[in-house]
Symmetry: C2
Subunit: 419 residues, 2 copies
């Protein structure tokens, strides 16, 4: 029988009425002839309650016990979902991570899948069960301890099961009805995409379109799992939502698929850094250890060089989230005190935002950058930093121009028009 | 190292502060040189919340899914307790039922222990862990599904671990500070017992002194596990609470140890039942199947016999909780309609209460019954039904005299005086 994976996030199973609503969607797929693996999150708020208890009990908690406690939220939803399906005459059974068993590494709180053996679930499907409800976000280590995958891990669980069971598709039910060309709160012209490639979705996700966990998209790309994002609050059918798939499946020829943004960015510049092999590692190593998520990096020739320094020097500019500036400053000062780097000053600009255009069409179309820069220039938006990848161009700009820039780029690339 | 089992009920782990309080008691025992197995219940209210969700989802729920859902409350407490102990520098690890594994039958919702292998826990103790925190009330079936033992099952878990690990003692921390000669709400003369025998505790527990689950006392008696009942809300030491133990350990020579009562009893009499072999089975079989907890049973010769009936007939009187009278009546009428029994009328008296005196000393002391009956007669209390066992005499009386009867018996057997 063809198999479908359906994942319901916390708001989609927030209470018994919503669990019933989600179960009705599962039943509809069973009626269409699918066996279904359902992945559930904890009822919304429950994981936060459990995490709060752990933090209050033990600020530097043992991650093994953290995992044992916080994984219980998903177990409750899984059992309730199985019961709800049974009430609707759908033969269903719940599975906790250790029962499958979902084998993971021992990296508690951030575990990775090792294997998802099919044997136990296949046996139940063979017995006539039509639905296996899996507690998301968790697994079991080789030591027999419960592990969790980190927040948002239920998306990853869903994709991993879809890969392991050769699912026809992995439907991620959430509180939005798909992936948009940009944030509809910024421009009403934002349009829901029918399809988007894995690569584009990865760039959009990491840039702030927080619909799918990045890791789940990476995993889907690697195993070519077709992902569909759709709303659990709407009536849905086979055409609802947005399909995230291999680019081969996408017929549209748009150069740019979407405009992403990140509002709270900071630009930091180390002025007059010694320009020698290994200097980048000496700077960004300590930042990484301090947990600073460095995003764009630009290395300029320092003005000083023109003034005839005997030593080769450079300026190093990078961006990171505003709330990590303090940590970044501390890490850099510590590295300077330790003598591993030297710089004259650290310039910090906390008034930045990042805007990016993303599209696999860029690979074959020239002139995207020029069109982007001129659209911004037309609106008088100054660009602080530019960074490019194969399918993305990002600029750091003054935060006050962010909405304006998103709207201008959305218009410039005619994203309101389909295909 | 000597080993202790300590069990904390729901009110003793109701919130993080109380968990800390319980953990401090565990730490004190570790400091005294014990390895400790801690059994925890769900934080009070949590199990009821989960049971409520299950019932609302599916009134005739699948017991396998019920167990998967409701067992999660204990898992949360176990993890939090382990974290709390770690914060206090006590090396502790939590264990869910399947991790031990606590092997049970597949009777979901009312599972029985099959085996508790020592291997996994012993290995952890050998590594230097001093405390194993076990989620109470649960186990795992041979099919790998989570089972629960039924409400109050955490007491039984504690005793089973004490037996499996040859514990020196099993301490049950609860919200009362021990076992009393009778309910202190009925007479202020009620006195806390230092020791009580398993047999007496069983009679007291089943009669309404709801401190320990009956099954846990039975198990303790079978495996000679010394049980101590004490309050988690008081300062406690080695002499706190009441020790429930083998009668060999009890030096006191009291004839009666306690006065128990049960307030909501009903007396039912089947008038003019055919007196033939198998009639008791024909009556009480259907009652048992209908879930009626029949307690006292008395068979009288019917008045009719004196009136010269050709057939031998009798009257059959029994007691049961008042709220089961409807069920009892239905079961008896169904049996009469089916022709398996016959009777003239069913007389029902719902104004009864049961009062019992319990004591292992009765075995060797005559005259306890006479002393009891005369104490009641002195107060003008009429006796409806009498039932006796080796260490207990129970009477059914009018409910309005219940408190008076308890006080009179407590005085008559001088239970306010020690030893």
């Amino acid at each position: 029988m063809p198999l479908l994976v359906m994942k319901f996030g916390g708001t989609s199973v927030a209470d018994l009425a919503r669990i019933r609503n989600a179960a009705a969607k599962v039943k509809a797929e069973v009626a269409r002839g699918y066996d279904v693996i359902v992945i559930v999150s904890a009822m919304s708020g429950k994981t936060n309650e459990l995490v709060g208890w752990v933090n209050e009990t033990s600020p530097l908690y043992d991650a093994r016990e953290y995992d044992a406690v916080v994984s219980s939220g998903e177990n409750v939803t899984a059992g309730l979902m199985a019961l709800t399906l049974q009430e609707m005459d759908v033969p269903a059974r719940s599975w906790q991570g250790w029962q499958v068993p979902i084998q993971t590494t021992s990296a508690h709180g951030a575990a990775r899948f090792v294997d998802i053996p099919r044997k136990n679930l296949d046996a139940k499907f063979a017995e006539g069960f039509r639905v296996a409800v899996i507690a998301g976000f968790q697994g079991v280590s080789a030591e027999g301890r419960i592990t969790t995958l980190g927040r948002g891990g239920s998306d990853t669980t869903a994709v991993a099961f879809a890969a392991a069971f050769d699912a026809e598709r992995c439907d991620i039910y959430t509180d939005v009805d798909g992936i948009y060309t940009t944030d509809p709160r910024i421009t009403s012209k934002a349009r829901k995409l029918d399809k988007i490639s894995f690569e584009e979705m990865l760039e959009l996700a990491s840039l702030g379109a927080k619909v799918l966990q990045t890791r789940s998209v990476e995993l889907a790309m690697r195993y070519k799992v077709r992902l569909r994002v759709l709303s659990s609050f709407d009536e849905t059918d086979e055409t609802s939502g947005t399909l995230v798939c291999d680019e081969d499946e996408i017929m549209e020829s748009k150069v740019v698929s979407g405009v992403a943004y990140s509002r709270e960015e900071a630009k930091l510049t180390l002025v007059t850094v010694e320009d020698r092999p290994g200097i980048a590692a000496a700077i960004f190593g300590p930042l990484s250890e301090a947990g600073v998520n460095v995003d764009m990096i630009v290395q300029n020739i320092s003005e000083k060089n023109y003034r005839g320094n005997e030593k080769a020097v450079t300026d190093m500019t990078f961006s990171c989230p505003v709330d990590q500036v303090g940590r970044a400053r501390k890490a850099l000062e510590a590295a300077r005190d330790a003598g591993s780097i030297s710089y004259e000053t650290l310039e910090v600009d906390t008034d930045a935002a990042k805007v990016s255009v993303v599209g696999i069409g860029m690979r074959s179309h020239a002139g995207v950058a020029a069109r982007m820069f001129s659209a911004l220039a037309d609106e008088g938006v100054n660009i602080k930093v530019i960074a490019t990848s194969e399918i993305k161009i990002s600029v750091l700009i003054d935060r006050k121009y962010m909405e304006l820039a998103v709207q201008a780029l959305h218009d410039a690339f005619e994203l309101d028009k389909a295909g």
